[in-house]
């Protein structure tokens, strides 16, 4: 094939990756302009990054016409990416998370005295990786998207070079991340071997043919399923592949912890959904058992381990493992007992992921407020007497914690309700009851933090200083948390829009 042909056939396709291209462009612009800024002017880097997010969001908004019927979904670059509602939904979710994390980072990085342009550039590059995870329709694109995201995150979690905990977090994250990517790549190579193509639809056809020819479980398909699932469970920190998460969450800069536990988790779930709803859909009754086991284990271990924690970031790490358990139970509810798709399960998952990014980032944003010169501020005792020192921050933290625990009128309540509803509809009543029961210990450990804020006396009376960027971000997060809790219809419509239908359904 000649070069001219390649360019002619993909000419219109460059439009489809405009959101990613914008982020790369602004990321490179930050790396260049960083040289021109003095130490006092470094906040301009954050502004450039915000501009990049805004332009990327604008191009994503224009693309949405190509995503849904009657024009879409639109495949591009020889079917290696696809612009569909699933991509638009997750793209906006990643961009929103990136914008929030940029807003809460500026002051934090000033206090840490590590205000470098690379920080924001790497955040944009990580977002590019996430977007390719959401739109990839080819194993190569998915793998590269995952690695772009992961490599940026390894560096970001070790960004506080002089802090030993940050060094250690980066080291553990890098080792575990590279290990899990290797396992995932092994699964991808077997998938390629099954089909002779890296295109997801072709592989799905091959697996479905094998599934019909060979009754029972096919060994190669099972090996691919196992390795791919293990690789993704590492990324979303599902038990028993969760050991890295508490250490990384505790050691990484708090803003990056919020990013890892929000956007990166949503991106890994996008990869999970894309692969398991296309490639592995013919063997869905096999993988549903894996999801069930990992979901219940994550719920149990996350909830029980969180009870004894004294460090807020570590506690939130275990709580986010428990949240992963709930989301995985939503995935269990996406398959009817007869192997057909149950859309309400996917809708519940999308809704949960969407609101989770907001209230989870919110909780970490309040932890960032406690950071000041000389005080790390991530122990539960650092919350003592917050209601006197800063009533606003205490009320916000209460709302985010209520939402994490799943208590009305917050978004977390509606999200959990949707999951339980879908579980009951697919005859998983035991799982639904289990999920409800685990809310009780969750309420206990979240309210240990609330008790510290409202009941206990603080040793000093220093008021946290809140910058306008942090106020804006906190306001946006609390509005989404409350609005999705009290008026869920709009958010539900958004979640329904994002549903990815397996082929042949």
């Amino acid at each position: 094939m000649h070069w001219q042909n390649i360019f002619e056939q993909t000419r219109g396709d460059f439009f489809l990756v405009l959101p990613e291209a914008m982020l790369i462009f602004f990321g490179l612009a930050i790396l260049l302009s960083d040289f021109l800024l003095t130490k006092q002017q470094k906040a301009w880097n954050a502004l450039t990054a915000m501009l990049g997010v805004v332009f990327s969001g604008g191009s994503l908004y224009m693309l949405r016409a190509y995503a849904a019927a009657p024009y879409g979904p639109t495949p591009g670059f020889y079917n290696s990416i696809v612009v569909d509602p699933f991509f638009i939904f997750f793209g906006f979710l990643f961009l929103a998370s990136t914008a929030l994390v940029i807003l809460i980072s500026v002051r934090y990085m000033e206090i840490e005295d590590e205000q470098h342009g690379e920080y924001y550039a790497l955040m944009l590059f990580a977002t590019v990786g996430m977007m390719f995870l959401a739109c990839g329709n080819d194993l190569v694109v998915l793998f590269l998207g995952l690695e772009t995201m992961a490599l940026s995150f390894y560096v970001l979690s070790g960004f506080l070079r002089r802090d030993r905990r940050s060094n250690e977090a980066a080291m553990k994250y890098m080792l575990m991340g590279a290990f899990s990517s290797g396992i995932l790549a092994y699964g991808f190579s077997i998938l390629y071997g099954l089909a002779g193509s890296t295109n997801l639809q072709v592989i799905e056809g091959a697996i479905s043919r094998r599934h019909l020819e060979v009754p029972g479980t096919d060994l190669l398909t099972f090996l691919a399923l196992g390795t791919v699932a293990a690789g993704i469970f590492f990324k979303i920190a599902g038990v028993p592949f969760h050991q890295w998460a508490p250490d990384v969450y505790e050691g990484a800069p708090t803003a990056i912890t919020a990013f890892v536990s929000g956007a990166s988790k949503a991106a890994s779930f996008a990869l999970l959904l894309r692969l398991f709803l296309t490639v592995f859909w013919p063997v869905n009754l096999d993988w549903v058992r894996i999801m069930e086991a990992v979901g219940v284990l994550s719920l149990t271990v996350g909830t029980l381990a969180a009870i004894t924690q004294t460090n807020i970031k570590r506690l939130l790490a275990y709580s986010s493992i428990a949240q992963v358990g709930y989301i995985l139970l939503g995935f269990v509810a996406a398959v009817n007992p007869d192997g057909t798709l149950h859309e309400r399960g996917l809708q519940a998952m999308a809704f949960y992921l969407f609101v989770y990014v907001f209230f989870n980032t919110g909780a970490f944003a309040v932890v960032i407020l406690l950071r000041r010169k000389g005080i790390i501020g991530d122990e539960i005792d650092d919350l003592n007497g917050l209601i006197e020192r800063s009533p606003g921050a205490a009320v916000l933290m209460l709302i985010f914690l209520l939402s994490l625990a799943g208590i009305p009128p917050t978004a977390g309540f509606v999200a959990k309700l949707l999951i339980f509803w879908a579980l009951i509809e697919t005859h998983h009543t035991v799982l639904a009851v289990l999920g409800v029961l685990y809310i009780l210990p969750a309420v206990y450990y979240y309210f240990r933090m609330v008790a510290a804020m409202w009941v206990r006396e603080s040793s000093d009376k220093v008021q946290p200083v809140i910058s306008w960027a942090q106020k804006f971000a906190l306001g946006a997060m609390v509005i989404v948390t409350l609005a999705a809790g009290m008026f869920p219809e709009q958010f539900l419509r958004l979640a329904t829009y994002s549903i990815l239908t397996p082929f042949g359904q």
Partner: protein
């Protein structure tokens, strides 16, 4: 011609050695080397399947995996250097500020 199965067993053996290496060795550099072994197992798989099917996708994928391994090694060694700078050790057992 050597049958495809033999290559697959070779790559499975490499993969297993890599996984065991990451899980049992305590020197971070050797853990990184074990991860490279896993990626090499992936590359052998891709090459064999590419030859078997007569499609070029696998070779393209393998080139990307090699590139990714290089990027990962660069970032990994950078992180190890920063860690060594502060702690003067590359042993995973001594990464114990936070519970492992």
């Amino acid at each position: 011609m050597i049958p495809v199965d033999d290559y697959l067993f070779l790559s499975l053996a490499l993969f297993t050695i890599g996984v065991i290496g990451v899980l049992t060795r305590r020197n971070v550099i050797i853990m990184l080397m074990s991860i490279e072994l896993i990626l090499n197992a992936v590359n052998i798989n891709l090459m064999v399947f590419s030859r078997m099917w007569g499609t070029v996708d696998g070779q393209v994928f393998a080139i990307f995996i090699i590139t990714d391994a290089a990027a990962e090694a660069a970032v990994g060694l950078g992180i190890i250097l920063a860690f060594f700078h502060n702690r003067e050790t590359v042993l995973a057992d001594e990464m114990d500020i936070m519970k492992w």
